[in-house]
């Protein structure tokens, strides 16, 4: 069994330094990996990234993160990423990472994701340059997620995003803002590869549990949803029939 801890939207800054750390010590007794589903900072500044690095660096399990929209606000995603990587975190944007757990392998493919809306109620690459750029950004990220997931050859596969791949986990948010909370293109990329689990954040008023049209379990781990420092999902690697 692979134990996957996850949390998103911790929105750390100097004023929140150390709030999560007590719950993260000895995380290895409860989990094999910690996934961070973006919005790690408030404004995406390098100084806030250092707080995140101190909070999640040096844990007794590997930490795998994607950035969120807040982590882009100061227009320094590369610098933020570098600070987190220097602290030993793995930061994914279209890449994958593989972790060995008790003879099994866990593969994580991660992207920030973006908005656009859900099937039948979404934007398209049409009209003004701003609109085309908006949806094109989502399309490129979804393609990048599809490629990353497809490249994994591990016993257990997990998709990690900040934005939501399905509308189910947004229930509680105003439907009018769904196009800013996620995109079905992410869900389609996930269903094309059928990972064991898809984890996202971003929607503070949504719900934890949902499922893609293809049957992949989706979990919204935004901290205001899970109401704890992290939550843990246990996935049993497929038994190989001989």
């Amino acid at each position: 069994m692979i134990r996957i801890a996850a949390v998103g939207d911790v929105h750390l800054g100097e004023d929140a330094r150390g709030r999560l750390r007590p719950a993260l010590e000895q995380l290895g007794e409860r989990a094999d990996v910690l996934l961070l589903a973006g919005d790690l900072t408030r404004h995406g500044t390098v100084s806030e990234a250092r707080v995140v690095a101190d909070e999640f660096g040096g844990l007794d399990v590997p930490v795998v993160a994607v950035l969120g929209n807040h982590d882009h606000h100061d227009d320094k995603p590369d610098e933020v990423t570098a600070v987190l990587r220097d602290a030993g975190l793995t930061v994914l944007e279209g890449q994958t990472t593989t972790i060995s757990v008790d003879g099994h392998t866990l593969g994580v493919a991660g992207v920030k994701g973006f908005g656009g809306g859900f099937a039948g109620k979404c934007g398209s690459v049409f009209g003004e340059p701003e609109m085309k750029a908006f949806i094109r950004h989502t399309t490129e990220i979804a393609d990048s997620l599809r490629g990353a997931l497809g490249s994994l050859d591990t016993d257990v596969k997990v998709a990690l995003t900040h934005y939501a791949p399905i509308p189910d986990t947004l229930r509680g948010e105003p439907p009018e803002i769904y196009p800013f909370l996620g995109s079905y293109l992410l869900g389609e990329a996930i269903d094309d590869n059928a990972p064991h689990l898809a984890v996202h954040g971003h929607a503070h008023f949504g719900v934890e549990q949902g499922m893609t049209p293809g049957g992949v379990r989706v979990r919204n781990v935004a901290q205001p949803i899970i109401r704890s420092a992290y939550t843990v999902y246990c996935v049993e690697p497929a038994v190989v029939e001989v």
Partner: protein, 82 residues
């Protein structure tokens, strides 16, 4: 009613864009002379900052603060994904 909707929209925008708050996860409801805030923030300081920003935009409003600081303890259970 219409004025209240525009005011609520201005307050929401202020909470999202003011560097003191940058909170997108706080609900803002205007009812007459009162504004109700609800949702979660990451620290006690941020609750106070919400009220400060609201006061700057609409000093005439009384704030009813139902915002919580999100719990940061270790979880109780875990879920088996099948």
């Amino acid at each position: 009613m219409t004025a209240e909707q525009y005011l609520a929209a201005r307050l929401r925008q202020a909470l999202a864009e003011d560097p003191r708050t940058t909170e997108l996860g706080v609900r803002v409801t205007v009812r007459g002379d009162h504004v109700l805030l609800s949702g979660d923030v990451a620290s006690p300081e941020r609750r106070a900052e919400l009220e400060a920003v609201i006061h700057d935009v609409a000093p005439e409003l009384t704030v009813l603060d139902d915002v919580k600081v999100v719990p940061s303890e270790a979880p109780v259970g875990r879920e088996e994904i099948r």
